[in-house]
Amino acid sequence: MTLLKVDNLTVSFPTSDGVVQAVRGLSFEVEAGQTLGIVGESGSGKSVSALTMLGLNPGADITGSVTFDGRDMLRLSPRELQQIRGADIAMIFQDPLSALHPHFRVGWQIREAIRAHTDVSNAEARHMAVDLLRLVNIPQPDRRVDAFPHELSGGMRQRVMIAMALALKPKLLIADEPTTALDATVQAQLMELLASMQREVDMAMIVITHDLGVVARIADKVQVMYAGRAAEMADANTLFHQTHHPYTRGLLASLPGSAITSSRLLPIVGQPPSLINLPSGCAFHPRCPFAMDRCMREMPSLMAVEGGEDHLSACYLPREMVGVSVAVDTARQRYAADKQGLRAVRLPGVAAAREEVPALA
C-alpha cells in the first residue's frame, strides 16, 4: 500500500539574489513499513523536501502534491497539519540539542507530544514517557525522565528524540541526518535501534543522509538527489552494485575504503552548482565524466534503466554503462585529463592549473 506519494514537487525560495530552486520536480513513493533512504550532498534539496511535506516551509513557493494516507498535505489547513504532525508522521532532526527545549525536562517534552494528540492524564503520560525511554534503551528511565537535555549526552538526547517520535506509533518516521552529529559507535547503536523500532511499531521510514554507509545498512529503496532532482532510484542492492547515474558512481568512488577505490580517491571534479543559477540541461553535466552534447541541452527525468526492474535513473547513458568499474575507469581517464589541463576551459576552478606550478622554494 502506498503510504506517501510525492508528485512533481517543486520548492523555491525567493531571495534578494534571485530565486533559489531548492527542489525541482521530485516524485517518489513510500510503501507502508518500507524504508526509503534519500542520499545527497548539502544543497541537494533532501531536507527541504522533507520539511515541505510536513508544511514546515512557510514562505516557500511550492507546487506539486504530497499525498499521505489519501490526503494532500500541501492543501491542508495549519490545524489539520498539526493533527498529523507528531501523530501520524514524526520527525527526528540532526541536532538533538537544538531540537529539544533547554528549559524543560525531557519527560515533560515527551508528555507534551503525547497529550497534544491524545486524551490521557498527566500521570498516565508520564508513565508512558518512562516506558518509551526504557524502549529506546536509556538506563534508569524513571530517573532520566526528570533530566534536562543538557544533563544528557548527545546519543542520549537523540534517543529521547526517537522516544518522542515513537510515542504515538506514527505511520511514517522522517529521520533527517539522525546520526550525523554522533560518534561512530553511538551511530551504530542508534541505527540498530531505529531498525528494531521500525519492526516493532511497523512504520515506514524516510532516512535522509549524506552517508552512503548508513543507507546501505538500513534502506530498502534508495533515492540519490542532486541539485533538487532525483538522479537515481533503486533498491539498495541494485543502486550499490548496478549503479547507473554518474553522480552516484562518483559518490561511491569518492569514498575511502570502499572496495572500488584504490590508493587514490576519485573525487567528482568541480563544485556543486548554485541553485540560483543552475547549469542548462542536466544539472550534473559540468561535473560529469560522461557528459554528451545532449546533456547540456535537455534535462533528463527519471527513466527505467533497461533490464533493471524498478531501477530508475535520470541519465541518457546507454545500458552498457551500468556498473561501477566502468565508471571508475572513465573517471580515472577524466581525472588524468583534468590534471593535464585539457579540460580546464570547460571546468573552471578545477585543480587543472596545478601541474604548471613550480615547486616552492
Binding site: 538506563p139 551511530q187 549524506h210 552494485h241 569514498l255 575504503g257 580517491l265 563544485q271 573552471p348 576552478g349
Partner: protein, 345 residues
C-alpha cells in the same frame, strides 16, 4: 617501522633517522570548578618520523584535539615534553617559541570559523608571511598567488572574501595559509569532516599531493576511521586521554589488539548492502564515561566485552606494550585479541 614509545626500546640502527616529533609522557589537565580536574590527555608518548602521516582517531572527548593543540603549543602542557626537530617546545617561551611555530602549522575543522570574514583571501594567506617578516610586498603577492594555484584555486581570487567561497574552497584557503611558511609538520584537526563526500575526496587527494611535493609530515586527527585509514601510514587510537593502540594502518585494520579498536572499526558502516547485511557489530554497552572521573584500572573496562571485572582489568592499568612489529596496544588480553587463526593478520 618506527613506533618506539621510549627511546630506550629502539635499537641503535633505527636511531639513525631521528623522528621529527617526539612526544614524551605529555599530560594536560584542565581544572574544573575548585577541586576537580579533567585529564584530557593523560600520559601520551609517541614519535612521528619525517614524511610520515600519523592518524589520530577516537570518539569525541578522547583528547585527540587537545593533543593536537599540545603539539602545536596552542595550549601549554601540564607536564611532559614535546620535542620537535631536536628542540623541546615545552621549555620555550616568547620569541623562541614564536620562531619555532613557523615550522608547525595547523589546518582546522570548520572552514567557516577558521577564516576571518573581514580579510581578503590574499591577506589571510599573506598574514603568516608578514608575521615572520618574510618576503617584501611584491614577492609576497606572487607567493600568495602561487599558493592559491598550488591548492587548486584561481590565483586571481586573492581579492575576494571568504564568504564568496564554498566549504571545500575555503578549506583549500586554510591549507594555503598553512603552507605559506613551508612548515615541516602540519597538524590537521578534522580537516574534511565538515565537507561533502565528493569534496572530501578532493581535499584528501590534495593533502596527499602536497605531502609528496613538499615532503610534509602530517598528524591527521579525525573521527572517521575510513578516511584515517586511507591517508595514514600509522594510526593511533585514543580513549579517555590515553593511547590504547598504535599500529601501521593496514595492520590495524586487519587485526586489532585492543577491544576498543575492534568495536570502533566494526561500527563503520560499509557502503555495500551485501556486506552490511552480514556485518556484525561489536556492540559496546553504554557511552564514554566522564573524563572527570574515569574508571579505575583500564579506563575501558566498563564497556569492554572481554574485561575481567572484578579482576586485573578493573584494578591494574595496562601499559602500552609492543605486541608485534610496530604494533603497540594497552590491553591485558591483547594476545587473545590477535589470535593466529584470524584471517588477514
Amino acid at each position: 617501522m618506527s613506533s618506539a614509545t621510549a627511546a630506550a626500546e629502539q635499537p641503535a640502527s633505527q636511531a639513525a633517522q631521528d623522528p621529527l616529533l617526539r612526544v614524551v609522557d605529555v599530560v594536560k589537565h584542565f581544572t574544573v570548578g575548585v577541586a576537580a580536574s579533567v585529564k584530557a590527555v593523560d600520559g601520551v608518548s609517541f614519535d612521528v618520523m619525517r614524511g610520515e602521516t600519523l592518524g589520530l582517531v577516537g570518539e569525541s572527548g578522547c583528547g585527540k584535539s587537545t593533543l593536537g593543540r599540545l603539539i602545536t603549543q596552542l595550549i601549554p602542557a601540564s607536564s611532559g615534553s614535546v620535542v620537535f626537530d631536536g628542540t623541546n617546545l615545552t621549555q620555550l617561551r616568547g620569541e623562541a617559541l614564536r620562531l619555532q611555530r613557523q615550522h608547525l602549522q595547523m589546518i582546522f575543522q570548520d572552514p567557516f570559523a577558521s577564516l576571518d570574514p573581514r580579510m581578503t583571501v590574499g591577506d589571510i594567506i599573506a598574514e603568516p608571511l608578514i608575521n615572520f617578516g618574510l618576503l617584501r610586498r611584491r614577492d609576497r603577492d606572487k607567493r600568495v598567488q602561487e599558493l592559491l594555484r598550488v591548492v587548486g584555486l584561481n590565483p586571481y581570487f586573492n581579492n575576494r572574501y571568504p564568504h564568496e567561497f564554498s566549504g571545500g574552497q575555503r578549506q583549500r584557503i586554510g591549507i594555503a595559509r598553512a603552507l605559506a611558511l613551508n612548515p615541516k609538520l602540519i597538524v590537521c584537526d578534522e580537516p574534511v569532516s565538515a565537507l561533502d563526500v565528493s569534496i572530501q575526496a578532493q581535499i584528501i587527494n590534495l593533502l596527499e599531493d602536497l605531502q609528496r611535493e613538499f615532503n610534509l609530515t602530517y598528524i591527521f586527527i579525525a573521527h572517521d576511521l575510513s578516511v584515517v585509514r586511507h591517508i595514514s601510514d600509522r594510526v593511533m587510537v585514543m580513549y579517555l586521554g590515553k593511547v590504547v593502540e598504535v599500529a601501521p594502518s593496514e595492520d590495524l585494520y586487519n587485526s586489532q589488539a585492543h577491544p576498543y579498536t575492534k568495536a570502533l572499526l566494526s561500527a563503520i558502516p560499509v557502503p555495500d548492502p551485501r556486506v552490511e547485511s552480514k556485518r556484525r557489530l561489536v556492540e559496546l554497552s553504554g557511552e564514554i564515561p566522564s573524563p572527570l572521573n574515569p574508571p579505575s584500572g583500564c579506563h575501558f573496562h566498563t564497556r569492554c566485552p572481554i574485561a575481567r571485572v572484578p579482576g586485573v582489568c578493573s584494578e591494574e592499568e595496562p601499559p602500552l606494550e609492543r605486541k608485534s612489529d610496530g604494533h603497540l596496544a594497552a590491553c591485558h588480553f591483547a594476545e587473545e585479541m590477535i589470535s593466529p587463526a584470524q584471517p588477514g593478520s
